[in-house]
Amino acid sequence: MPFRIHILAVALVLTAGSAVAQQRIATLDDTALAAQACNVCHGSQSYLSPTMPPIRGVDATTLYTALIELKTDKRPSTIMGRISRGYSDEQLKALADYLSKN
C-alpha cells in the first residue's frame, strides 16, 4: 500500500522573502518517483508546458482511461503509446491516481 506510507512530508519552504515552490511530494514511494519523469514534458504544478496537455490534477479515471487507450493503440499518439507500454496496468492506475492528486 505505498500510498499510505508517508515517507517525507515535504513542503518546500525557503527562507523568508523567497518564493515558495509549489511542487509537493507528500510521499516518496515507487509511484511518486516514477511520476517525476512526466514533469520533463508535461510540467509540474509550478510549470505548464506550452505544447503538451497538462496532466497534474486531472481526474484519475480520465487519466487512466487515456493511458490504457494509448497503451493499446486505441488512441492515436506520437510517443505516449510507446511510453505507456513500459508500465503494467496497475502501475498506470497508480500513476493516474498520483498525478490526479499531486
Partner: protein
C-alpha cells in the same frame, strides 16, 4: 507498483532530528540537519539531482559546484547552426535553484575528491565536506583520438561543437562564410558518445541551412560506425527533404577518419582523402576529467554504477550520473541524465534517513528535427536489470517509418515543448 520496503517506523526513526518536519512542515530549510550533499557539475544531471534532493529532503544541505556562470545547452545547439535559434535562447541561469529550492550555488572547479575523508577540493583551495557526493561532470573530449587534430585546431578551424558555446558560434560562422557549392564534412565517433542521434540531427539542420541559402553545397558524413540512432528515419527524411545533398559513408565502407590536416582542411578516411570547406570533427570522449581524477572511471574512461541507484562501483557514498556513467541501455542524453538524477536524489534522501529507496524506473525521450516542421523521436522506459539498466520489454521505440506530415509536425511541436519543460524541470 511494487511494494516499497519503506515503513512508517523506519521513516520516523530515520528522520531523527527532523521528525518535527512532519508536524511543522514550514521549518526553514536553512536549518540543515539531514546531511550534506555536494554535487559536482550543474548540467542536466547535476542540476536536476541538486533540485530533487531538496524536493525529497528539504532539510538536507545541498551544494552545487559548477565552474561556468551560465549553462548553454547542447540540445537545440544544432538549431543555432541552422539559424533557427540564437545562442541566447539556449543559455540558462541556475539562480532559481537557489531562490526557489534553497540549493547553495558555488562557482568553482572541483579539482580533487577524497573519498575516504569525504571532501571535495576546489581550484581556489576551498574544500567542501560531504555525506553524499554526486559526480555529474559530463564529458571530456579526446583530442588525441583523431591524429592531426588538436584543441587548438578545434578552437580555430575544425570545431567539434560537442560542448555548446564558442565552438557552436565558430561552426555557425564557418557555415555562413562558406561559398555555395562547398562540402561540409561531419565526422562522428564510434560508440559510446554523448547524444547518439546528435550528429545526424546536426547533418539535418546544416542541410536545412544549406538548402535555403547555399543549395549547391554538399554534406559528407564520414562515420566511424556502421549504423546509427534512428538511422532509417533520418535517411528517409534526408531523401525526401534534401535529395542528393547528403552522403553518409559507414565505417566498414571506409568512412572511419584516420587523420585530419587542419592546415590543408582535409580529412583522410579509409576510402581516401577529402577536402572540406567546413570540417566538424566529433571526437571520441570519456567521462569528465574530475571523474577520472577521482578514480571513479573504468579503463574505458566511463564510470560503472549500480543500475538500481547510480551509486559508484568504485567509491562509497558517491553517485555518478549523466554522460559520465555507464548506464546500460540508456543513451548519453540530457533527458536520461535528468531521469537518473531523480533516482539518485531519491536514493540519497532515503539513505540519509536509513530507509530503503523506491524502486528505480528511468526514462528517455530524444527528439530530433529533420526540418523545423519534421520531428522524429526515440523513447524508452528502463528498469535496473542483472546486466545493467535495460529497456522494459515490448515498450518504447522510434517514430513510425511511415507517417503523415501531421505526425512529423506534431513531433516537431513536442520537441519545442520538451525543451521548455526540461529546462524548467532542471533549473527551476
Amino acid at each position: 507498483m511494487t511494494k516499497t520496503s519503506f515503513s512508517r517506523r523506519n521513516v520516523l526513526a530515520g528522520l531523527g532530528a527532523t521528525a518535527g518536519l512532519l508536524a511543522a512542515p514550514h521549518i526553514a530549510s536553512a536549518q540543515a540537519s539531514a546531511g550534506r550533499v555536494v554535487v559536482i557539475g550543474g548540467g542536466f544531471g547535476g542540476a536536476t539531482a541538486a533540485r530533487y534532493v531538496k524536493l525529497f529532503s528539504p532539510d538536507t544541505d545541498v551544494v552545487l559546484v559548477e565552474r561556468d556562470a551560465t549553462y548553454i545547452t547542447c540540445p537545440f545547439s544544432n538549431y543555432v547552426l541552422a539559424g533557427i535559434r540564437d545562442l541566447n535562447s539556449i543559455t540558462h541561469r541556475r539562480d532559481p535553484l537557489r531562490q526557489r529550492f534553497g540549493v547553495r550555488l558555488v562557482r568553482g572547479e572541483a579539482t580533487a575528491v577524497d573519498t575516504n575523508a569525504r571532501s571535495v577540493k576546489l581550484k581556489d583551495g576551498a574544500s567542501l565536506p560531504y555525506d553524499r557526493l554526486v559526480v555529474a561532470p559530463g564529458i571530456e573530449l579526446n583530442y588525441a583520438g583523431v591524429p592531426g587534430w588538436s584543441e587548438q585546431a578545434a578552437n580555430t578551424v575544425m570545431p567539434h561543437a560537442w560542448k555548446a558555446g564558442p565552438q557552436t558560434v565558430l561552426l555557425r560562422k564557418q557555415l555562413e562564410a562558406m561559398a555555395d557549392g562547398g562540402t561540409v564534412i561531419i565526422a562522428p565517433p564510434a560508440n559510446p558518445f554523448r547524444c547518439p542521434p546528435g550528429p545526424y540531427e546536426r547533418v539535418s539542420m546544416i542541410a536545412w541551412y544549406l538548402k535555403n541559402h547555399k543549395p549547391k553545397s554538399k554534406i559528407l558524413v564520414l562515420d566511424a560506425k556502421d549504423a546509427f540512432s534512428k538511422q532509417g528515419l533520418f535517411m528517409a527524411g534526408w531523401e525526401s527533404q534534401y535529395p542528393g545533398m547528403i552522403t553518409w559513408i559507414a565505417g566498414k565502407d571506409g568512412g572511419k577518419v584516420e587523420s585530419v590536416d587542419p592546415k590543408g582542411m582535409t580529412v583522410t578516411a579509409g576510402f581516401g582523402k577529402e577536402k572540406g570547406a567546413v570540417i566538424n570533427v566529433i571526437p571520441p570522449q570519456t567521462a569528465g576529467r574530475i571523474a577520472l581524477d577521482a578514480g571513479l572511471a573504468e579503463a574505458n574512461g566511463w564510470c560503472a554504477v549500480d543500475p538500481a541507484s547510480f551509486a559508484s562501483r568504485k567509491a562509497q557514498n558517491v553517485y555518478v550520473l549523466g554522460d559520465a556513467s555507464i548506464a546500460g541501455a540508456m543513451p548519453k542524453s540530457g533527458t536520461a541524465a535528468n531521469s537518473q538524477a531523480k533516482v539518485v536524489a531519491a536514493n540519497i534522501a532515503a539513505s540519509l534517513r536509513g530507509v530503503t529507496a523506491p524502486t528505480a524506473v528511468y526514462h528517455n525521450t530524444c527528439y530530433s528535427l529533420v526540418t523545423p516542421d519534421y520531428g522524429i523521436s526515440v523513447s524508452d522506459t528502463y528498469r535496473p536489470g542483472p546486466q545493467g539498466v535495460a529497456v522494459v520489454p515490448n515498450s518504447g521505440g522510434v517514430s513510425p517509418a511511415r507517417a503523415e506530415a501531421a505526425q512529423r509536425k506534431a513531433e516537431a511541436n513536442y520537441t519545442m515543448g520538451w525543451y521548455a519543460g526540461i529546462i524548467a524541470d532542471t533549473f527551476g
